[in-house]
């Protein structure tokens, strides 16, 4: 009989509340603990033994990172202790005045890579910080060493996606296009906009994504786009890959700067999780999709049919089911969605070190997972109209995975 692994639940809880700190984190952890226990209890009522119930419960919860994202967006973050001021801000403003397209500064969630082992961080552990951590911090120079190790770790990790836009820049760019913005609701993260030629205002509520970065309000680019996609009938397009220009009706906004660039791949990756989730009727797959920011740029898939055009492609792979990473082994695997640009016939759409078979349908993908075989499904993405993102499955006969290196 399988027994409960208390560490598995605690690790999930820790990962799912990673974006929070202090009392907010403690409360969220307590709540999640009760919720997970309740879920396990409900599974045991269905006849599962304790161990199976725990696995089923954690699997059903899905990616803890997705939960962390949701929770982090709701809770206002404390002032980020980043220290350095953005270099050349004055210079940037100067450029903004001259540029044809207003620039919107971007950033990433500072809570995701905190390397400050202060009392606030220590008190965020529900049962108190581990004694091993406390011991290291008590040593002379211990804290400095740990913080340096932490920073080195994040320096080598892929850069976080800059998925947040400075709210004041967004408002400014809209005003430059003669869009009226109700000043009263902006600070709450609600944009009430009246476009030229229209007599009514459309409220765009991005308040749930509002965070503070260096004392400024930022809102999520994906939340903004989802609002625009579903709550307006304005023509909507993203042009370009790095620091793309967003066209919203008559308004144009360049998203990101050289210092904090925005890659359109990360935006589509996040939006497509929902789009794919709706498209794929197989709920086994549809309900378990996740993405990774700034994936490898190494081409790994090549077209075998020249009629397949260069452009945006999306892949969905079951590799995390077959070869789970450490984090995934605890939380449960998901289908990994990647978006890539095909240039001259090749596109980065899978881990270049891995040999993987291409399938034609989501049912084949699901079957491959049951047979513990690595498989990937590929789609062509049409983004000419953001309100109507089109995914067209690519037959396996038209592409091949390049040999693993």
């Amino acid at each position: 009989m399988k027994v409960l692994r208390p560490n598995a639940t605690e690790q999930y809880i820790r990962q799912a509340t990673r974006g929070l700190s202090g009392q907010a984190r403690r409360d969220a952890q307590t709540e999640l603990r009760g919720a997970i226990e309740d879920k396990i209890w409900r599974f045991t009522l269905l006849g599962l033994d304790a161990g199976a119930a725990q696995s089923a419960a954690l699997r059903d919860l899905g990616s803890p990172h997705a939960v962390a994202q949701g929770l982090t967006r709701v809770h206002t973050l404390p002032k980020a202790a980043l220290g350095a001021v953005l270099a050349g801000v004055a210079c940037l403003l100067g450029v903004q005045a001259l540029a044809a397209v207003p620039v919107v500064r971007a950033g990433s969630n500072p809570q995701l890579r905190r390397c400050t082992f202060d009392d606030a961080y220590l008190s965020s552990f529900p049962e108190g910080a581990p004694s091993s951590l406390r011991a290291k911090l008590a040593e002379a120079g211990g804290r400095a060493l740990l913080e340096a190790k932490c920073r080195n770790f994040w320096a080598e990790a892929p850069a976080p996606a800059n998925q947040y836009l400075r709210l004041s820049d967004v408002v400014q760019a809209l005003k430059l296009a003669q869009v009226q913005v109700d000043p009263e609701t902006v600070s709450q993260g609600i944009l009430s906009l009246t476009f030229p030629g229209q007599s009514y205002s459309r409220p765009l509520d991005v308040s749930s994504s509002k965070i503070r970065i260096e004392d400024e309000d930022y809102v999520g680019v994906v939340e903004l786009l989802q609002n625009l996609r579903f709550n307006t009938d304005l023509p909507l397009r993203l042009i370009g890959q790095v620091n793309p220009v967003l066209e919203v009706g008559p308004a144009r906004l360049q998203l990101g700067t050289a210092e904090y660039p925005v890659d359109v791949i990360n935006i589509y990756s996040e939006i497509l999780v929902g789009v794919l989730g709706n498209e794929i009727l197989n709920s086994q797959i549809g309900n378990h999709i996740g993405w990774e920011s700034n994936p490898s740029a190494q081409p790994s898939v090549q077209r075998t049919d020249t009629s397949l055009e260069d452009g945006l492609y999306v892949s969905l792979s079951n590799e995390l089911f077959i070869r789970p990473t450490e984090a995934v082994a605890i939380s449960g695997p998901y289908y990994l969605e990647r978006t890539g640009v095909m240039r001259s016939g090749t596109v980065p759409l899978s881990d270049p070190a891995v040999q993987i078979a291409v399938v034609d349908t989501s049912d084949q993908l699901s079957a491959a997972t049951s047979q513990k075989k690595m498989a990937v499904l590929v789609y062509k993405l049409d983004t000419s109209d953001l309100r109507n993102l089109k995914l067209t499955p690519v037959p396996a006969s038209q592409i091949k995975v390049l040999p693993a290196r």
């Binding site: 409360d27 969220a28 307590t30 709540e31 999640l32 603990r33 009760g34 919720a35 226990e37 309740d38 879920k39 209890w41 409900r42 919860l61 899905g62 990616s63 997705a66 939960v67 949701g70 929770l71 967006r73 709701v74 809770h75 749930s208 989802q226 579903f230 929902g274 989730g277 709706n278 309900n287």
Partner: protein, 114 residues
């Protein structure tokens, strides 16, 4: 289930689920599934951020309680007086939207046509 459909009405759904008594997360998920015949399957990743948002807005209040079966405490939510007002307002907006849609799909003639 269209995720965007749910998102637009999630607040109304959650406030309404607390109308007749306090509930904790696991109960809300079970209630919603039962009441909608499985049409809405709420995920925890959607539910808890939404509950926290409603709590921040002051429409619901949460309190940790230990269930009769024991174990870790669960956070039980109750509709506040402000929340009852908000539920009423959202319900009215939803009804107005609903009848507007019915007015079109119900086959009424568009003004100006013979």
């Amino acid at each position: 289930m269209d995720a965007q459909q749910l998102k637009g009405h999630l607040d109304l759904l959650l406030l309404a689920s607390l109308e007749h008594g306090s509930r904790y997360g696991g109960q809300i998920i079970a209630d919603v599934q039962a009441a909608t015949g499985g049409y809405f399957h709420l995920r925890e990743g959607t539910l808890y951020p939404a509950l926290h948002r409603l709590e921040k807005a002051g429409w619901i209040a949460g309190e940790f309680q230990v269930l009769p079966r024991g174990g870790s405490p669960v956070k039980v939510y109750t509709l506040t007086p402000g929340g009852q007002e908000e539920l009423k307002a959202q319900r009215e907006r939803y009804e107005r939207f609903n009848s507007a849609v019915r007015g079109i799909i119900g086959g009424r003639m568009v003004r100006g046509q013979a």
